[in-house]
Amino acid sequence: MSSAAGEGPVRTLTYREAVREALCEALREDDRVFLMGEDVGRYGGCYAVSKGMLEEFGEERIRDTPLSESAFVGAGIGAALGGMRPIVEVMTVNFSLLALDQIVNTAATLLHMSGGQFSVPLVVRMATGGGRQLAAQHSHSLEGWYAHIPGIKIVTPATLEDARGMLRTALEDPDPVLIFENVMLYNLEGTLAENAGAVPIEGARVLRSGEDVSLITYGGSLYKTLEAAEALQSEGVTADVIDLRSLRPLDDDTILASVRRTRRAVIVDEGWRTGSISAEIMARIGERLFWEMDAPIERVCSAEVPMPYARHLEEAALPSVPEIVAAAMRTQSRAG
């Protein structure tokens, strides 16, 4: 689905493999890098991302941890302060709440509280999102929450290029970076340039250009949104599709440039609507473009319930292509 940027030889692989390649490359090229988390070693990662890595890199660098997010995220912060470049994997964003104190009170603040003396070059990867019938304790999208916190960067790779390239840049960043990998993307297959490498972790990308409405999204919702844009085209409505890529910082310029042109926006966010990143984006559009809008801003978000287990209910709770199409159509002028 994803297309390779530029020309030259390409190959086919999955999102999972792209993440694994990025991890292996980082471990090979920098002795300070190591991976730790629950089941990342012997089990190969609960989404099989790190399968085989224990054999290649050994127990020192692929470390299984006890079931204590607070302890091992805290250990990662300590290692980062000590000069290492830890990659901490948290099995799912729901579990990361046990490490909130470490992330929000420690990782995000140390640079400031030390008067600029200590930066925390920590990378935390976590799975996010629903769709796999894992119910209400493993399926939520809380990345928008983290985007509230100054001092950390929040990135949401949705394409193979970003899955392959964001880790490297995140490791080079002197400050904590949280990478959110949507669980529905791991099996996504696409082509990637042979020479794909590091990409910037900031800045949104316009993946499709149109005139009539701006569809703004990130992470797992990207492909639903692209599909919706395709469907809209057959209705005669052409859409910009913006992959935010980073939720903190948000790329206001790209968002505003697009909406200024289309005068209509739909935000697709797998998080809940209330107090969400989608609300923040709406606010920024409202602040800056109020007088240039032609329709109320629309949102497609997850239903405000704990994620149901039953498949049909889970599907109903998550943003869907028909909902995105309908929201986009509501922003449009009626024919005639």
Binding site: D294, P296, S333
Partner: protein, 451 residues
Amino acid sequence: MREYLMPSLGADMKDGRVVEWFVGPGDSVRRGDVVGVVDTAKGAIEMEIWEDATIEEIVAAPGTKVPVGEVLLRLGEPEGGAVEAAEAEPESPESLETPVEPASEVPPPRGPAEPQPPGPPASSAEEPISPAAPMPGLVRASPAARKRAHELGIDLAEVRGSGPDGAVVLEDVLAAGGPTPHITPLARRIAETHGLDLSSVKGTGPHGTITRDDVEPLVPEAAHRQEPEGRQRTMRDAIAAAMARSKREIPHYYLESIADMRRAEAWLAAENGTRPPETRILPVALLLKAVALSARDYPEVNGHWTEDGYRPASAVHVGLAVALRGGGLIAPALRDTDARPLDELSAAITDMVQRARAGRLRSSEMTDATLTVSSLGERGVETVIGVIYPPQVALVGFGRVVERPWAEDGLLGVRRTVSITLAGDHRVSDGHRGGLFLRRIAHLLAHPEEL
């Protein structure tokens, strides 16, 4: 039968020569349109008309010299008399009379209509979100549509909406603004001269009127800059006559005061830091406003010397001396300088200076200034000792803002300061009152928030 008379463009103007008419019999004109050009001792000035009308007859052909107050044009009723209504359009036109939109357009009130499935307490945000129903009588229109409609002077109640829920959107307004914009005579003349098609030109004037500003950018570059040969010469002669008369008749006295500009500059920097370029305030606007406010309290510097003696003016219209590049000087007036907010004043100055230099001043700006300010700006000299522009009786000069040693409360420091001078007419005022006038200006500059 109504008539359009030769305007008086200054107390010393006796007559003017008609250079050109932009209108002909049968043309319809609106209040504010430029209808022709008259040559005076001050140079060629564009004449505006002050009523809506149809031109019936041109009485004074181009080339004729006409005394002030004599007939130039005969006028008839404006087309259809419709413009009258447009002019009288109230601020909130449709709100009371327009029938409320049909009820079917209004989304049903939100309520707990649908039975909730058992489970965790659902949030109200689960209900479909739709914008609130419009207020009764208020036209549903998008912000983009409202903004453009306001600019074009279009009544939203008369525009058919094609947007969500029948809302009027930008395209509807653009379509409604389309068919028959008013074109000013001057704009039409320029278009005809250069064979331009105006059908796709978007008017930026009042009510979407297409003005010269909209048309001129379309004129090929080469066609510009055909300044009449004698313009410079005429202006030089006019300045010579006015200044010689000033020095011959007016017993000047001169005063100088040095004002501390620290607070004014800091206030201005802070204020402009928050403003986009379009609304930034020029330093000279501060100076003009300070002079204008002070002049209210010193009627002996604000008025005209006539054959019957001194006549103080009832309003303050400050003339700003604008130097033309390559020589020449013109001092168009900013009407009611004392009553206008600084940002508006600043915008008026930038516009006026630009037009003065392009030789495009209007007759309304040449009506008598009551007092002149000469500010030679940031590259000018430190002190300006001015020559009064008759029939005015005072000229305030501002030098460049410079650092000067400054003693205050027994301490010496360095301050950014400006020299303010007054050239006063001793027939009307004396040094004591003139000094108080300068002190008042300096006080206002030290308290910019009062401006």
